[in-house]
C-alpha cells in the first residue's frame, strides 16, 4: 500500500486489521486482569483473550466475501466462547451493528461510524446501561461520536480512528469518577471511584489498535 492516507479497507484488510487488534488485546491481558481485579472479579483479561483467540481462529480458518461476515465472525466467536457479561457486550459490539446491513465489501469511515453507532444502541438495549454507569459504554459512546463527527467533516478513516482513540481515552478517564451501576463492581458504591472500568479500557485498546494497524499500512 502507498503512503497515501487510507480511506477505506477491503474485506481482507479488515480481517487483517482485527487479527492485529486481537493480538493487542491478548497482549494486554495482564493489564485488564489487574484493572478488573481492583473492582471486579479479575477475569476480564482472561475473557477478552478467550474471545479474541476464538475470533483469531475463526478469522484465520475462513475466507470472507464481505465485511459483514468479518464483523459477524468476530462477534459470534466472542458470544459463543467467552460467556460472562463481556461475551455478550463485546460480541454485540461486533454483531450489533451489521444486523440488517446490506452486504458490503469495503469499509470507510461513515460506514464504520454507522456500524458502531448501531452496535452501541444494541449494547445499551441488551445491557440496560448508559453513559456514566462505569461500563465500556463510557468509552464506546464518545468514540462513536468522534467517528461520526470526523465522518461528517469528510476526514479519512485513520483520522477518524485517531479521534475515536482520543475520545475513548477520555471516556476511560471519566470512568474513574463514576460509581458502577452495572456488572460486578455494582455493589462497590463509592469505593469504585478512582478506578477505571475494565471494559472501557478494552474499547480503548480496540480503537487504538485499529488506528495503529492503519498507520502501519500508511507507512509500510
Amino acid at each position: 500500500m502507498s503512503i497515501e492516507t487510507v480511506n477505506s479497507v477491503n474485506t481482507r484488510q479488515l480481517k487483517d486489521m482485527f487479527l492485529y487488534v486481537g493480538d493487542q488485546v491478548v497482549a494486554c491481558k495482564p493489564l485488564l486482569t489487574k484493572i478488573d481485579s481492583a473492582i471486579g472479579d479479575g477475569d476480564h483479561g482472561i475473557g477478552m483473550s478467550v474471545g479474541f483467540t476464538k475470533a483469531d481462529e475463526n478469522l484465520k480458518a475462513n475466507e470472507f466475501t464481505s465485511i459483514n461476515d468479518v464483523f459477524k465472525t468476530i462477534g459470534m466467536s466472542m458470544i459463543s466462547s467467552m460467556g460472562g457479561a463481556s461475551g455478550i457486550i463485546f460480541g454485540t459490539m461486533f454483531v450489533g451493528g451489521i444486523k440488517g446491513l446490506e452486504t458490503k465489501v469495503s469499509l470507510d469511515l461513515p460506514l464504520l461510524a454507522g456500524i458502531f453507532n448501531k452496535a452501541l444502541e444494541a449494547i445499551k438495549q441488551r445491557g440496560k446501561a448508559d453513559l456514566g454507569d462505569k461500563t465500556m459504554i463510557d468509552a464506546l459512546q464518545p468514540a462513536v461520536e468522534a467517528l461520526e463527527k470526523s465522518a461528517a467533516a469528510n476526514e479519512s478513516l485513520v483520522e477518524g480512528l485517531r479521534k475515536a482513540e482520543i475520545a475513548a481515552l477520555q471516556g476511560v478517564e471519566n470512568t474513574k469518577q463514576y460509581i458502577a451501576n452495572f456488572g460486578r463492581a455494582k455493589s462497590l458504591g463509592e469505593r469504585a471511584i478512582g478506578h477505571q472500568d475494565a471494559g472501557a479500557t478494552t474499547v480503548l485498546i480496540i480503537f487504538k489498535s485499529m488506528k495503529e494497524w492503519l498507520e502501519g499500512q500508511e507507512n509500510g
Partner: protein, 338 residues
C-alpha cells in the same frame, strides 16, 4: 498460588471430563458445549441451572433426581455462553417448558436472556427465576440488584422437587419464585480465592482483617473489620440477616452454613452451633440445618449463612428425595413417601 492443573485455559473442560468419568452412569455430557444433563430425563418441566465455574460443587454438582435436569457451565467466574444454555435446554426439554434458575449477575442475565431469544425460534418455552439471596449486596429497596450466592442450592432443591411432582411450568415457577423470595444469605470473607493460572489473588485482606458481606467473586461487602471470635462474628452476621429477612419468632427456617473454600468443616460446625443457639433463643424454629461447602470460590476463606423461610408447601418440597453427585436427600426407611 499452587494449583493442581494443567493448561489454565483447559481447567473447565478437563474438570468436566473428570466429572463425567465419575458420574457417567447417571449423567450425560452435551456435545460440543460445557453442559451436562441427567440420563433419566422424565416427562416433566425441565430445570436448568448454570453459572460460572470455580464455585464447585456449584453448579455442576447438583444435576440429578429431585434437582436440576441440566447445567450450563461457564468459564471460571464467567456466565455460560448462550449457545451452551441453548444446547442444554434443547437436550432436556420434554415439551413441558424449561425453567432457568441461576444467581443474579449481569453476565448470567445477559447470556440466559440471549439463550431465551434463541430458544424462542425453536419454540421452546422458557421461564426464569433469579436467585438474589445476598442481603449484603443491596438494600431491600433494590432487592432486584442483590447477588445470588449459596442460596442457589436450596432454591434448586425446591424447584427440582416441584418439577418432579409433575407440576406445570407455571406452578413450578410460582413455587420456585416463592422459595427465591424467601431465601436470604449473608457472607464473610477471611481470605481471597484465586483464578487458576493467575498468580495474584483478586483482592487482598490484611493479616487480621475480614470483610463482612463480601461477594463470592470478591465483590466488596458492607464493612472490613478485625478478625473476631466465631460467636461474635456469627452474632453480627445474624443481626444483619434477621433484620434484612424479617424472619422472626414463630417463623420456621432451614439453615445452610456454607464454607467458601478453605474454611474447614470444624469451623463451620462451630458457627452452626451459634446459629442454632441464637435461633432457639429467638424462638425461630429450625426445620433443618445443612453444614457444607456447596458454593465456594476456589480456596477463598470465610462462610455464608443462608435461611430459607418455610411454609407447609416448601417443607413438603424440601423433604422430597434428591440424588445428585454432591447433594443427596434420602428417604428414611419407614418414612412415608410423599
Amino acid at each position: 498460588m499452587k494449583k493442581i492443573i494443567n493448561n489454565p485455559g483447559n481447567v473447565v473442560e478437563e474438570a468436566i471430563e473428570g466429572y463425567m468419568y465419575a458420574y457417567k452412569d447417571s449423567l450425560t455430557k452435551v456435545n460440543n458445549v460445557n453442559g451436562i444433563i441427567r440420563k433419566d430425563l422424565k416427562d416433566k418441566v425441565a430445570i436448568i441451572i448454570g453459572g460460572g465455574s470455580g464455585h464447585e460443587p456449584l453448579f455442576l454438582g447438583f444435576v440429578g433426581e429431585g434437582l436440576a435436569d441440566g447445567v450450563a457451565i461457564g468459564n471460571v467466574f464467567a456466565a455460560p455462553t448462550p449457545n451452551t444454555i441453548q444446547d442444554v435446554a434443547k437436550s432436556v426439554d420434554q415439551g413441558k417448558g424449561v425453567l432457568f434458575i441461576y444467581g443474579n449477575y449481569a453476565g448470567d442475565v445477559l447470556n440466559f436472556d440471549m439463550a431465551t431469544e434463541l430458544l424462542e425460534f425453536e419454540e421452546i418455552q422458557t421461564q426464569t427465576v433469579l436467585v438474589a439471596d445476598d442481603v449484603a449486596s443491596a438494600p431491600e429497596e433494590r432487592k432486584g440488584d442483590r447477588r445470588g450466592i449459596a442460596g442457589d442450592v436450596v432454591v434448586f432443591k425446591i424447584a427440582g422437587a416441584a418439577s418432579e411432582k409433575g407440576w406445570s411450568l407455571q406452578e413450578v415457577v410460582r413455587v420456585t419464585q416463592k422459595a427465591a423470595d424467601q431465601t436470604f444469605s449473608i457472607g464473610v470473607a477471611t481470605a481471597p480465592g484465586s483464578i487458576p493460572g493467575e498468580e495474584e489473588p483478586p483482592f487482598v485482606l490484611g493479616d487480621d482483617e475480614i470483610e463482612i458481606g463480601m461477594g463470592i467473586h470478591g465483590e466488596p461487602g458492607m464493612k472490613r473489620t478485625k478478625l473476631m471470635e466465631a460467636d461474635d462474628l456469627t452474632d453480627e452476621l445474624l443481626d444483619i440477616l434477621l433484620k434484612e429477612s424479617k424472619i422472626q419468632t414463630g417463623d420456621e427456617v432451614t439453615v445452610y452454613v456454607n464454607g467458601l473454600g478453605s474454611t474447614t468443616l470444624l469451623e463451620l460446625l462451630i458457627v452452626n452451633r451459634r446459629v442454632a443457639q441464637i435461633l432457639n433463643k429467638k424462638g425461630i424454629k429450625i426445620y433443618d440445618m445443612d453444614v457444607n461447602s456447596y458454593c465456594t470460590t476456589q480456596e477463598m476463606g470465610g462462610f455464608s449463612i443462608t435461611f430459607l423461610k418455610l411454609d407447609d408447601e416448601l417443607k413438603d418440597l424440601y423433604d422430597a428425595p434428591a440424588d445428585s453427585p454432591y447433594y443427596k436427600k434420602t428417604q428414611k426407611i419407614g418414612e412415608e413417601v410423599k
